[in-house]
Amino acid sequence: MRYSTSITKGLSSTFAQEVLERDGPNELKPPKGTPEYVKFARQLAGGLQCLMWVAAVICFIAFGIEISKGEISGYDDLYLAITLIAVVVVTGCFGYYQEFKSTNIIASFKNLVPQQALVIRDGQKNQINANLLVVGDLVEIKGGDRVPADIRVITSQGCKVPNIQNTPRTHPILFRSTVWLSGTERICECMFPCKELEKETLQSVYFPPLQVCLSLTAKRLARKNCVVKNLEAVETLGSTSVLCSDKTGTLTQNRMTVAHLWFDNMIHAADTTEDQSGQSFDQSSETWRALGRVASLCNRAVFKPNQETVPIPKRIVVGDASETALLKFTELTIGNIIDYRGRFKKICEVPFNSTNKFQLSIHELEDPLDLRYLLVMKGAPERILERCSTILIKGQELPLDEQWKEAFQTAYMDLGGLGERVLGFCHIYLNEKEFPRGYTFDTDEMNFTTSGLCFAGLISMIDPPRATVPDAVMKCRTAGIRVVMVTGDHPITARAIAANVGIISEGSETVEDIATRLRIPVEQVKKSDARACVINGGQLKDMTSDELDDALRNHPEMVFARTSPQQKLIIVESCQRLGSIVAVTGDGVNDSPALKKADIGIAMGIAGSDAAKNAADMILLDDNFASIVTGVEQGRLIFDNLKKSIAYTLTKNIPELTPYLIYITVSVPLPLGCITILFIELATDIFPSVSLAYEKAESDIMHLKPRNPRRDRLVNEALAVYSYFQIGMMCFTDYFTAMAQEGWFPLLCVGLRSQWEDVRLQDLQDSYGQEWTYSQRLYQEYTCYTVFFVSIEVCQIADVLIRKTRRLSAFQQGFFRLVLFQLCLGNLLCYCPGMPNIFNFMPIRVQWWFVPLPYGILIFVYDEIRKLAVRRHPGSKYHTYFVKLFVHSLIFFFGHHWDKTVSWLC
């Protein structure tokens, strides 16, 4: 062997440590990033920023010329230049910070799901992080793993990899990150944990604010155990309409747990909660003591050593699933089973086999004076019952007559119907005379009593659902997301769990249920009457895709049992044919196609194979179904917030743009100045638009149907319409009011521009025949700027109020903070002395604050009514148009009324 390694024992850990120190960790070097100063410079040199630099330079030049001429008429140019530069720098810093943050967030995700490798060192197998591998390490790889380093395959069986370049070689070389598709676990040797450069994998395709939003959400999700691999997954997640979930491990706890006991002719429920917080059953009965003893003794499972501090349900056990469940159960109810078993010395045992379907063992009794042997037995209930002649009821052996047999049968059926695995338990004290001490029990010959035993009871086990799952399923249901269970389990178990967590709701029936209830053949049942449907893999194989589509369409509650991973893909495709956005969970290698096909593939972080994690868009760190629902909620929230944010940006841009359009086309005196716009952009806007993006969820976010990504775009026409004109109109009303009340009637204003701006004209006549100097007109113009600014502020307030809550009434969310902020800022700019000459803000008359207010209130009223309609009739297609018409006619009357109010006010 090369690299001084042994083919069986691998490296010694000390040597491996040395090599690790010498070579460094087995990591790909991240690509050389762009230097930070370049990133910052990029923020300062965007298209708009360049324009602003040029503008600033021009301002400086203009100011310089004025100085050189020796006459400084004003510092306006200087102020404007400084403001422009400040704007560029401040927004640059902000943008840089945001980019920095989102890059960090994305980078941090890599460490959340570290790659593991099974390495053989000192002859022992150990799970270590893949970056600790060194040259010469032996690693074991199983199907679905990602190759942890560049390796040479030493032994393999049925190995399949996608892109093997040098197959003919006896020891083919595999490069890291190749997915090992199938083939049993084989040993490979690390060749060179080489240090090639990693390609840049995460590339942002979003414009920065969206990127920030998404990465922040991704971070929030990561905290809730969902790691998102590509950012758009966050958004798609929000529109998920079908969720195909695995059962084992996702909906359930992935551990067999004792769920029910039947003794004393009664079914007792055991505590199945993950943290043992549930109710326990009555343990005072003698029968229970006997049953508990059988369960403890007839059990080969043991705890792995050194786990005293670990809570019992979490301890690792050597043994099969049911024995593990029984061991933990008895450990919890009786206590210290190892010690208990020690007191009943085991003489011999017959392990479980599929022909006997039972397991028995023979023990000495605890009491040294009692020389009888105790035979304990467990197994398939019907087989156990065959061997029994008596039954233990309240500690007394009663003959097992037909009545008891019927009772047993009922209990057995009941428990089986719950999807639980039922075991029967019985025992017998062997006759002291027939089997004295020292008797040689021969397990092959069975030279001892195995019939006429005493039946103790039944214990049934199940992999119980996770505590949080029923709530999560309920949440999905209200959110219009359909949960489909796809499992390899038995249909009865699958159905029981589905009913338990609410995937099949109470009162829902399958076709078969209806047939039994009505006592008619299955064929006569109307399929649409059955809400629920359980299809097993065999049936699925025989179905055409149309039939499957039909089934999915007809039955809202679907469970697929006994399915293969390939069939998962068929189910996903069928859902997508029906127009759903499908999220699929998966863990195995064979799930990869389904994960890839799904709109959102979700891999399990604990149980999932590397292949599944590779194919998925999202990884659930805790394998918990409830985390997916959290993800959906976050995805919806971000879409909602972005929608609000974008609508807000749109609405504010239009009133900022229209003054210039009107100024150019109709030649009115300029209604809105540059510095004023800068103020709107920088001061009054930042707070609302940022706060919108970081908004908390509206409480009904999970009560709506998933949006249709084809129809529900970020900006729909309806939003654009009323934002564009209403607000522009509102600002112009205020502008014309301010002009007219000072003596410039609207009609005079039209076409006035060239005279208005003529510096030499010191006696321009207004509508009343008064004469104005240029300076007086200029200050009037500033007044208009201020009035326009105030109108925009009022519109912003109204707008944020309506945007913030697209469906819920604004009064349901308190945020008058924002209003306060806007008002304080507006007041400061208007009434602080010195403002006219620095920032071109004039102290305006108080009335002008109120001119746009009724419009603002109208927008608000209008929107509240729209929301009411949306809440009353969610999802109807044309309602918006009618509501719009209705509301605008309302505005008409309101508006009319308002005009009178204004005349009264002024």
Binding site: A740, Q762, W772, Q776
Partner: protein
């Protein structure tokens, strides 16, 4: 392959012959949308016009609601010249002819005949108030005569060229009209006073004011607006530079002196004052 698909997809989006959809909508759908927006915009425009109309209804025809910017009335000169500069050569008739023309046309409404015909000879030295009684508007309001002849040497009646040919030019100063303004206080009429800007008093020489003392008679105030007082004649003050230094640039500043008009506004160089440049070239 994929590219072709995309192209087809676009084509289909633009015109889908199967569903007869243009840009993803059928004709009737487009029609409905068009109708809706048409109605919507008409409605918005109507609403805007309505609000503007109602706003205009609230305005008074004769008096602006606010006069926030007009606390200090502006002063202006005639002729204006280019950029408030009056530069001419006294021998060169063409160089001052435009100024004379400007003065002629400016003063023509002040011809004595016109004034006597249209306006009322008011009682001088007191405000000519014509207030409305409570309900009845006292309209139209009469205006006081300002006869051109009051300007004497600068009236252009005796001296056709307003002294421009002799190097003794006349400049007429007018006070901007502001509705309701009552300049002066305690019966004292506002007057104009001109002085050179920088220390070139001696260069400016003597100045004559017409009417005497350069006052605006109180009877021309208040102004009631162009609608109520159609024939209002703005009072004027003429100044005549009697022995100005030739071939030199002189900066002159004229201010209004009235105890209720502040004339020092740093920002506005034309509020209550006016400055101009005067230069008369001459060969000798």
């Amino acid at each position: 392959m994929a590219k072709g698909d995309k192209k087809n997809e676009w084509k289909e989006f633009f015109w889908n012959p199967r569903t007869r959809e243009f840009c993803g909508r059928t004709a009737s759908s487009w029609g409905l949308i068009f109708l809706f927006y048409l109605a919507f915009y008409i409605f918005l425009a109507g609403m805007f016009i309505l609000t503007m109309y109602v706003m205009l209804l609230t305005l008074d025809d004769n008096k602006p609601t606010y006069q926030d910017r007009l606390a200090t009335p502006g002063l202006m000169i005639r002729p204006k010249g280019e950029e408030m500069e009056i530069i001419y050569a006294k021998e060169n008739t063409e160089s001052w002819d435009t100024h004379v023309q400007a003065l002629n046309s400016f003063l023509s409404p002040y011809n004595d005949s016109v004034q006597e015909q249209k306006n009322y000879a008011c009682k001088p030295d007191q405000y000519f108030k014509q207030e409305d009684s409570d309900s009845v508007k006292n309209n139209p309001k009469r205006s006081c005569q300002f006869r051109r002849s009051i300007l004497e040497d600068c009236s252009g009646l005796t001296d056709r060229y307003y002294g421009y040919d002799e190097g003794k030019p006349c400049i007429i100063i007018k006070l901007n009209r502001v509705i309701g303004m009552l300049p002066g206080k305690d019966g004292q009429a506002p007057s104009i006073s001109c002085a050179p800007k920088i220390d070139d008093t001696d260069k400016m020489g003597e100045v004559a004011y017409f009417p005497r003392n350069g006052t605006f008679n109180l009877m021309y105030f208040p102004y009631y607006g162009k609608k109520a007082q159609v024939n209002y004649s703005q009072p004027l003050v003429a100044i005549k530079f009697l022995n100005i230094t030739l071939n030199t640039e002189i900066n002159v500043e004229c201010k209004i002196i009235a105890n209720n008009i502040p004339n020092l506004n740093e920002r506005d160089k034309f509020a209550g004052r006016v400055s101009f440049k005067l230069r008369i070239n001459s060969r000798n």
